[in-house]
């Protein structure tokens, strides 16, 4: 057996897992082995979890249930280094407004709401490179300059019930939470796998993180 850190990318059929896995592999070197998996047991045994996601909230939740991964993800989010990306951030919350309302994993109290922008020149989806203002120190922000631009694509954003979990904020018409951190869990609305240098740095930080 390899002594390298085992990182599982959770594959529940929603999203560009290949891009996520490639970016993580690119920086993993000898430190870690990255596996894309649909197997709850692999998620259970892994040292760290990457939880990506794209598409609609309802389809994502349904896919988590259908693949039998819901419980494994919920458990992993409580006990080992866990990185949520995009929809993998949103479904961690209690409830999403998308698709006329969807109950989500309820790991973090709060809701997911749609951008309602008065300025017609601001487009939805919020698509492209925007700044993430780091609102707290965190090992995952190591070597990432304050207000760096990450690549975003989304129409909904999270509203945590407790503001102490907010780790990053971004502005698109309104200021919204773009990253959260709680114990062993970190999740970001942007796509680090598509955010060039700063995104790769975030993966490097995650691979080196012990979850504290």
């Amino acid at each position: 057996m390899s002594s390298r850190k085992q990182i599982a990318v959770v594959d529940y059929g929603m999203g560009n897992l290949r891009s996520v896995a490639k970016a993580a592999e690119h920086v993993a070197g000898d430190l870690a082995e990255v596996t894309v998996t649909q197997d709850p047991q692999v998620v259970h045994n892994a040292d760290a979890i990457i939880f990506p996601g794209q598409g609609a909230a309802k389809a994502c939740m349904q896919a988590l249930i259908d693949t039998g991964l819901e419980h494994a993800v919920q458990q992993a989010a409580q006990e080992k280094p866990f990185l949520g990306i995009c929809m993998g951030l949103q479904v961690l919350f209690s409830h999403s407004e998308e698709n006329e309302g969807v109950d989500c994993l309820n790991i973090l109290p709060g809701t997911v709401t749609q951008f309602q922008l008065e300025d017609p020149s601001l487009k939805i989806p919020h698509m492209g490179w925007n700044q993430v203002h780091q609102t707290q120190d965190h090992p995952l922000w190591h070597k990432i300059p304050q207000d760096s631009r990450f690549y975003f694509v989304h129409s909904y954003y999270v509203q945590p019930k407790h503001s102490d979990i907010i780790s990053g904020q971004t502005t698109h018409g309104t200021s919204f939470t773009s990253a959260v951190a709680q114990d062993n869990l970190f999740a970001i609305q942007a796509h680090p796998e598509k955010s060039a240098e700063v995104g790769l740095q975030l993966f490097t930080n995650f691979i080196q993180w012990n979850g504290q």
Binding site: H26, W129, D147
Partner: protein, 257 residues
């Protein structure tokens, strides 16, 4: 502090090779899409678009390998257009590492395909490519129509109505190319870009006609585009992507540098 406007270099790829000439003095193989994409990434491109112009379907697999290679070395969004006709085509490209696909004629022949694609993969990865030409006479109000076959065949479809319909069906973004301006180096058809950008909520990428750096800023400021796409001004080393961004910044446009 807000969203940056994007610059997207576009590469035409035929049978796995970049065509229409790309010249960098210090690049090993200027026909290799992987080398070229890496160079644009280093220059600060916000995304890269590949247009597969391979004539025969037998050679389509080549594009998949190109995307796989690029996606394992370049970590910015990649869009692939050309010959995307089915859900399977999309899945193949996304699995290879593309983030978005651009659908053009297949949307015209079967608009239901757009909805099917968005439902299957999410709006975020479906770009609709709109090739439009002005059909109004000088004394009429501006009117543009969708053309196929590289601008040769009119469809009778009004470009603005079409853009709105594509948004309704779930498209995440529109790539608007003026077939009157494409290849002319005279700048975008700004009236076309603005007319479409102002009639939809989703982002519009302006395309067709860039010959000078000023044209890029015009596309944003006057055309109301969220992103600008260009090919030849970057290919021949006339300008780097970074120079283009600095020129945009001087016009007060927010860019990622």
């Amino acid at each position: 502090m807000s969203l940056a406007k994007r610059i997207i270099p576009c590469l035409d790829v035929d049978n796995g090779r970049v065509v229409k000439g790309v010249q960098f003095v210090d690049i090993r193989d200027a026909g290799d899409p992987v080398e070229v994409a890496k160079r644009y990434d280093q220059q600060g491109a916000d995304e890269i678009t590949f247009l597969d112009i391979t004539a025969t379907s037998d050679n389509r697999g080549t594009m998949v390998h190109v995307v796989e290679e690029v996606a394992s070395q370049v970590f910015i969004p990649l869009t692939v257009g050309g010959g995307i006709r089915s859900v399977d085509d999309i899945r193949t490209m996304l699995n290879a590492g593309a983030d978005k696909v651009a659908i053009n004629s297949a949307a015209i022949f079967n608009p239901g395909f757009v909805q099917e694609a968005c439902d299957a993969f999410g709006s975020q990865c479906i770009v609709i490519a709109i090739d439009a030409k002005k059909v109004s006479t000088p004394d009429e109000d501006d009117r543009w129509e969708i053309f196929t076959h590289g601008g040769r065949k009119p469809t009778g479809i009004d470009a603005i109505e079409w853009a709105q319909k594509m948004e309704e069906l779930g498209a995440g973004e529109l790539l608007v190319t003026s077939m009157d301006r494409d290849g002319t180096k005279n700048g975008f058809d700004l009236a076309l870009t603005r007319a479409i950008a102002d009639s939809v909520k989703i982002p519009v990428i302006a395309s067709g006609g860039v010959g000078k750096l000023e044209h890029l800023a015009e596309g944003i400021i006057e055309g109301h585009a969220e992103a600008v796409l260009a090919a030849s001004i970057f290919h021949f080393g006339e300008y780097t992507v970074e120079e283009a961004k600095r020129a945009m910044q001087q016009q007060g446009i927010e860019v990622r540098l």
